[in-house]
Symmetry: C2
Subunit: 461 residues, 2 copies
């Protein structure tokens, strides 16, 4: 007999003579002549209650059916007289699949700190909070795919291993099959001549450049995959390995780009509210009391849009003490981003047309010669959620900008080639998937929206 | 005015007074007083024909509107008198977005070899074949997500960076921020004490172990992400970076596992046939004449299932000269796998219960003490498409197997922990996404189903 997932049992339309449920015991309560088990199998937040009468043949094993143990029960699905549950199971057969010694099992029924749970990241998916977080993560990922597919985008897998170390060499992880020690620099050529790829290889920090290549053939594409930063910074918003969503659209300008970013953010939030109601409710209740208001605001209000120059004026006019002084030309810091989104606009705000000197070479130079057609989406609590731009499609301007940034155009022969052969205006952005999840759940530490986070000194599991 | 993707224009229900089309010129033909342009924007295989009359104000730029150039046209969508196309555009405004010098543009209208196109992987998405391949890749990825979500699985992102080098150390890529040369082994401790993670870090070869951890909380999960092998082998079936789909199911045995593998394979093939008809037709016509028959067979016929022992008997009875001699205990080679699928069964075949000595420690030991509850799906032309097993859920047997394989149980404290706390029978498998795409398209080289393939000595783009 096939097991029925608890999510289906709880939504059953009618009682059932025989049902098989498997799950982990969240709690056991014993009464005279029978025991109540709260079972959870991960399929949803809610538990299913199973009642085991002492008449059940294997009732004597009940002493081992402790919190954390796994059981299989056969029984009858019947209406529950209890509050808050429509159905319960009257058990006719009980089997212990795996015990969980009550003295050792770390997830006893009590509140555990996030720090403690990170140390047992292999077990925390069995808690309400992390089960909910990872179910939401899954559904948000699906929403991303569905959104782009419905809009005619193609999902492309851009490479993780890259030979280009140009976008910030110091912060990349090097990938190698050479020995870790005892390697001497050769007299001629490069040490990497003998490496797997015959040249230096790194982990990608962004799939953008390759996504652009694909957009120039397929029109509208997006990547959704892991990216890497070797930044030695221990903040609640940074991880060494995280997932990014990067759409790239041919025949699009920076306004199209902002429209897409806003539409996508709203879509995913709405999809999660509609498809993960129970799990979101947990976060709204126990993690962030203002969560629902913020999510409703994201869905219902148009995002504010201001130029960088206007944003700087707003920051200068603000009656705030800034840790990082504000003047035209600075890169906005999290304190500035959060002020704009949280205090000034009280909703997401898109800042566009940034000074060219603080942005990458590939962003399209505006006619003023001072700014580029970049745009960032800033949201309350997080700051930057999305960063993007129209890309420089003009060969001469692009080459000038590569040189200005002190880089070598030959490293980008394939990238500049696209400006030689059927160049078109195009735009795209990158959204940190974990930041989106922090926004959606109210979770404040990036380590808690990633099943097995990687940060400096942490690579366990 | 917004551009209309060509896929939408071609499926229009009625003519339109004004439409904007952007795309790359596949061909231009000039006639007396007007020119025909075949435009493609990547949204589908088919081109849209645009007719530019010499009366169009900018008609003089037509000389630069060569193969590979990008244009924007405004015009009227009208019924086409030509064969094989319902609609065409009568252009009223023509703009050149980017030219493509006819002498330099590598993709002139002629047949190019796959080898040549790999060298210009940044441009090949603009060819019919690779456009089709990457659209199919996208749709197949969506089908995978949809299949699992509809069945109540959660998508989990298992880590790419791993501290465990246990599954085949020699074939892993090391990830480091230490200098590449001049590093000396320290007198005490490890050289990796000073590395980013404080220990040796590698790129994952499989998300399985972490997926198991998540399945023990969420019930049914799957990973779909990049995996890495540092094998220095140049075969048409191997790449250093490829994507894998790995479901992991709690409360499931090896028969459930085979059922899931078969159902999933059929689902994706069916989805592609239904959603990518034009693109598949290209492969059936020009790449593999037997493609449609093979795909129909996969959908309509139940997969064969035989034990490893039966499979060995079939191979011994076959009137074939084997390069690798057959006897009970050997690992099946591609020649054996293909014989079973192509010649003996003439359809996909699932081989189960392999000798324990050729399989990994985590596969569940059968009662015979000689075999494990593994299963591989073998398909015509490819050989192994899927490999999986029921996992060893019994702590004592698992520890014995880890020791037998000469590994250290302490490296797996979190993996074995799951057998201490609520252990349950569970099973899962890994499917190479690129092999699935080779099966679906008839493409024979893995380098041609990956946008930017990584193989020994190749990391360009």
């Amino acid at each position: 007999m096939r097991r029925t997932p608890i999510v289906d049992a709880l939504q059953a339309e009618e009682a059932s003579k025989e049902i098989k449920i498997c799950g982990w015991v969240r709690t056991r309560r014993d009464a005279k002549g029978f025991s109540f088990l709260e079972l959870n199998d991960g399929s949803c937040l809610k538990n299913l209650q199973a009642i085991v009468d002492e008449a059940v043949p294997t009732y004597e094993i009940i002493k081992d059916v402790t919190t954390g143990a796994a059981v299989e029960v056969l029984g009858e699905l019947v209406p529950s007289p209890g509050k808050g549950q429509k159905w319960e199971v009257r058990v006719t057969k009980l089997a212990l699949l795996g015990s969980a010694d009550a003295d050792d099992f770390p997830l006893q029924k009590k509140r555990h700190s996030d720090e403690f749970l990170r140390q047992i990241a292999h077990l925390r998916p069995r808690t309400n909070k992390y089960g909910a977080a990872f179910r939401i993560r899954s559904e948000a990922a699906f929403a991303v795919h569905k959104f782009y597919r419905d809009k005619g985008f193609f999902n492309v897998h851009t490479p993780i291993l890259t030979g280009s170390d140009c976008e910030g060499a110091g912060e990349m992880f090097r990938v190698s099959t050479l020995p870790a020690t005892g390697v001497e620099a050769p007299k001629e050529g490069s040490v990497f001549d003998n490496d797997f790829f015959g040249r230096e290889a790194n982990l990608t920090v962004s799939g953008q450049l390759e996504a652009e290549l694909l957009a120039m053939g397929l029109g509208k594409v997006y990547t959704f995959g892991p990216t890497f930063r070797a930044e030695n910074s221990n903040t609640p918003r940074h991880a060494a390995e995280f997932w990014m969503i990067e759409p790239e659209v041919a025949f699009a300008d920076n306004v199209d780009n902002m429209d897409l970013a806003e539409e996508m953010t709203k879509y995913v939030v709405k999809h999660i509210l509609e498809n993960c109601a129970d799990d979101i409710e947990l976060f709204a209740k126990f993690v962030d009391k203002e969560l629902m208001g913020r999510l409703e605001n994201i869905i219902n209000e148009p995002f504010a849009r201001v130029s960088y120059t206007e944003a700087v004026d707003l920051l200068l006019a603000a009656k705030k003490k800034w840790e990082f002084p504000v003047e035209w030309g600075i890169d906005l810091q999290t304190e500035h981003e959060r002020y704009l989104a949280e205090e000034h606009f009280k909703k997401p705000v898109i800042v566009y047309d940034y000074p060219k000197d603080i942005k990458a070479f590939y962003m399209r130079l505006n006619d003023d010669g001072k700014t580029v057609a970049a745009m960032d989406v800033l949201v309350p609590r997080i700051g930057e959620l999305i960063g993007g731009s129209q890309r420089e499609e003009r060969m001469d301007v692009l080459l000038e900008r590569i040189n200005e940034m002190g880089q070598n155009p030959e490293d980008y022969w394939w990238y500049t080639d696209l400006r030689r052969f059927g160049s078109v205006p195009h735009a795209g952005f990158g959204m940190g998937f974990e930041r989106l999840l922090m926004l959606v759940t109210g979770i404040t530490n990036i380590r808690d929206v990633i099943p097995f986070p990687r940060t400096p000194q942490h690579i366990e599991f």
